[in-house]
């Protein structure tokens, strides 16, 4: 995928008002400077993000000594500095909106408010096996160090709350923070915005509010989730599991269902009469045309969410319900020759 497309998808999905910015660290003389006006690196990044400007600059065009060290133009004279690109072989740095670049970036930087960066973090964590995003920041060496040198040197995404220089001299607003990505991470996030399993929770119609933990607990028993109910094959029968709601919207019980088919509605009605004395409570049954709907309510005694956390107890309750409804269905079929 081309960078223009990646940039567009990323911006669209995360509703970013500005472009992701491509940073390239150039160690040779293969490219020429395009920038002669001295400026801070963080200012160039913001101009690039919001106004689409591009810069290729050398150390002479930098007005910030922190960036000079962090971007690897100069080795520190006194002790070690962290974070920085080392060894300090940088000749030029290119800053350009991602959609305008054709060369692979070394780092991609985005500017956003905490809400938007939060959404990025959610996807990033999912791509990294739900591991939390780790960030190193100290309010110094922000765009140049925390968001460029760290992703470049450590191949890790990093977050920065910016530094005084960036906020005072480079136009960053109070609600803006910055994130720097190694290019592979950025590409994965951008491409994943089309993967349904990652983004499905963020779009489309939600048909119920059954907690994810409860869904997986029910699935573990052998049910699959449909739009309206769960169903699975147990023995020779297809058993449906439904999650009825109380008046206040809580789910504190489950119902198991096995609809039994008869030749026609008259046969179903007379079978319904026959089974009156046979079925044991709390089993429910009702004729629906040529079917008798057999249902078994299972009282959870608490909400589904909590009940499903008690894994073994929950599983035992549902499994014993399945045994009961299968036994009773078998009995009905035997007595009525369904």
């Amino acid at each position: 995928m081309k960078y223009a497309e990646l940039s567009m998808k990323f911006r669209k999905f995360f509703e970013l008002p500005s472009s992701p910015v491509s940073i390239r660290i150039i160690n040779d003389s293969s490219e020429k400077k395009t920038s002669i006006q001295p400026m801070r690196f963080c200012e160039m990044v913001r101009k690039s993000a919001f106004y689409g400007e591009s810069f290729v600059f050398g150390v002479e065009e930098l007005t910030c000594t922190s960036a000079e060290l962090a971007l690897g133009f100069t080795e520190p004279s006194y002790g070690e500095v962290y974070p920085r690109i080392k060894p300090a072989n940088t000749k030029l740095v290119s800053v350009t909106p991602l959609e305008k670049t054709e060369k692979k970036p070394d780092v991609v930087i985005i500017i956003g408010n905490p809400r938007k960066i939060m959404r990025v973090s959610t996807i990033l964590a999912q791509l990294h096996e739900k591991q939390p995003v780790e960030a190193k920041f100290k309010g110094e060496f922000a765009v140049c160090g925390e968001c460029t040198a760290i992703p470049f040197m450590e191949k890790k995404v990093n977050l920065s709350l910016l530094c005084n220089g960036a906020r005072m001299f480079s136009g960053y607003r109070d609600d803006e923070i910055v994130m720097g990505f190694p290019p592979d991470d950025f590409v994965r996030i951008s491409e994943s915005t089309e993967e349904k399993e990652i983004t499905s929770a963020l779009c489309g119609c939600i048909m119920d509010d059954i907690p994810a933990g409860a869904v997986s607990a029910i699935e573990k028993i052998g049910f699959g989730k449909g739009t309206d109910q769960f169903f699975g094959r147990f023995g020779n029968e297809i058993v449906r599991l439904y999650t009825p709601k109380e008046k206040d919207g809580k789910i504190t019980s489950l119902t198991l269902h096995v609809p039994v088919k008869f030749k026609d509605s008259d046969t179903a009605s007379s079978a319904n009469e026959k089974i009156k004395g046979i079925l044991e409570k709390p089993l429910l049954y009702r004729v629906r045309d040529n079917w008798i709907d057999i249902a078994l309510p299972l009282d959870l005694g608490e909400t589904l969410n909590r009940a499903s956390m008690r894994k073994e107890k929950f599983e035992a309750l549902v499994k014993s319900g399945i045994d009961t409804i299968l036994k009773e269905t078998e009995k009905i079929k035997r007595k009525t020759a369904a």
């Binding site: 449909g226 309206d228 109910q229 699975g232 094959r233 297809i238 609809p259 088919k261 040529n290």
Partner: protein
């Protein structure tokens, strides 16, 4: 920008296909409507002789007469055409409710009922259904919710919305009972007939309806987007309220334009022309609704011969829109490299379209307007697919 993709647009299916799409059957154009589509396909084509500044008042073609005829057909007093049923719902709520009011809706309502309320900043309270496998809306639930809302907010809901036939199971709700309850409580009643008026008899007065909205493209054999908003004289001037604004500098005013319809409802060319052209056939076809139900029941009966196929919702079917469970198909899909899409492709191979691609655990289908032979063909196609995959079929 590749502009070539916009050239030679085709749908990929021809007249020889059987379309069972749940939302498309009632919107298939009549031959008359296809002629009208060509005649009035240009943008503002019905406005050649517009002297009254509103599309519903145009006499040539006879849109003005048509509004009166549609009102008579639905047994309502006044009608306007809207940019879809969703626009009609929005318009009613916009004109008769105040932000912060409560709307009571059935829990099977189309999402546009919820969004119409949201756009008008109304609080939504749902009347529950009775769950698996019937999913029926309890009419008495409206009375309970009215009481609850009054107790909680100090006033009754400003409108009640009922989906006459729901889009998920094709159940027909007891609109007459809900209408009576609304009259008792004095709550205005909006009936969404997107899946009923135009294909089955609907009598607004008999159902005690204050507002009736319908969908031209879903159930009146018209090109999208077009909806129908019908009301009674009691509400007509309020819901079709005319503009009173004036430009503060120019002094301009638009006193004939109806506010909730954006002045002149945006249905100018193909939508209203095809709706009109199909109307004689629509009037005729609702009289044959019983035949449609009979065919739907035949179809259910045939499909339920396949092991694991089970029609959800009220039985026997009272409507042509239906929802089947089909776990055995899902079990096949899990082993097939096409996954859930296998059913869609298998049917398409047999020239049947309209099933939602990717669905195999359960699917919705609509048999409205299909000939008996076509219904038999579709049922046999399902049986063929099942047989090929080793699923048992009753003989």
């Amino acid at each position: 920008m590749d502009l070539n993709k916009y050239k030679n647009l085709t749908r990929g299916i021809s007249d020889t296909y059987v379309n069972v799409h749940p939302i498309q059957r009632g919107g298939v154009l009549t031959a008359e409507a296809r002629k009208a589509l060509l005649e009035f396909g240009d943008g503002y084509s019905v406005c050649d002789y517009c002297f009254e500044s509103r599309v519903d008042l145009v006499d040539k073609p006879p849109v003005h007469d048509f509004t009166a005829d549609v009102a008579e057909f639905l047994n309502m007093d006044d009608v306007r055409f809207t940019a879809g049923c969703r626009h009609a719902k929005w318009a009613v709520m916009h004109m008769i409710c105040e932000p912060g009011d409560t709307v009571v809706v059935d829990a099977l309502a189309h999402y546009t009922s919820y969004l119409a309320a949201e756009a008008n900043r109304l609080n939504i309270v749902e009347v529950p259904h009775n769950g698996y496998p019937r999913f029926e809306i309890d009419a008495q639930g409206y009375a309970r919710k009215f009481e609850e809302v009054e107790q909680k907010t100090g006033k009754l809901p400003s409108i009640a919305v009922l989906t006459h036939v729901d889009y998920r199971y094709g159940n027909i709700a007891d609109a007459e009972e809900v209408g009576k309850i609304c009259k008792e409580y004095g709550v205005p009643f909006l009936l969404n007939t997107a899946y009923s008026s135009g294909i089955m008899p609907v009598d607004g007065k008999k159902l005690h309806v204050d507002f009736l909205c319908g969908s031209g493209h879903k159930s009146w054999a018209a090109s999208a987007p077009i909806g129908i908003l019908a009301t009674t004289y009691e509400w007509s001037s309020k819901v079709f309220n005319k503009s009173t604004c004036r430009g503060d500098w120019s002094g301009r005013g638009f006193s004939k334009k109806e506010v909730a319809l954006f002045g002149c409802s945006p249905v100018f060319g193909a939508p209203v022309a095809t709706l009109m052209a199909s109307f004689p056939a629509v009037v005729d076809r609702v009289g044959r609704w019983d035949e449609e139900v009979k065919k739907a029941r035949y179809f259910v009966n045939e499909l339920e011969k396949i092991e694991g196929f089970h029609q959800m919702g009220v039985k026997p079917k009272q409507h042509t829109l239906m929802n089947f469970e089909s776990l055995p198909l899902h079990e096949i899909a899990e082993k097939d490299k096409r996954r859930g899409y296998f059913l869609y492709h298998e049917l398409k191979k047999r020239k049947i379209v309209g099933l939602h691609p990717g669905m195999s655990k359960n699917f919705k289908i609509n048999t409205y307007g299909l000939k008996h032979e076509q219904i038999e063909y579709v049922a046999n196609a399902f049986k063929d697919i099942a047989r090929e995959k080793g699923i048992k079929i009753e003989e």
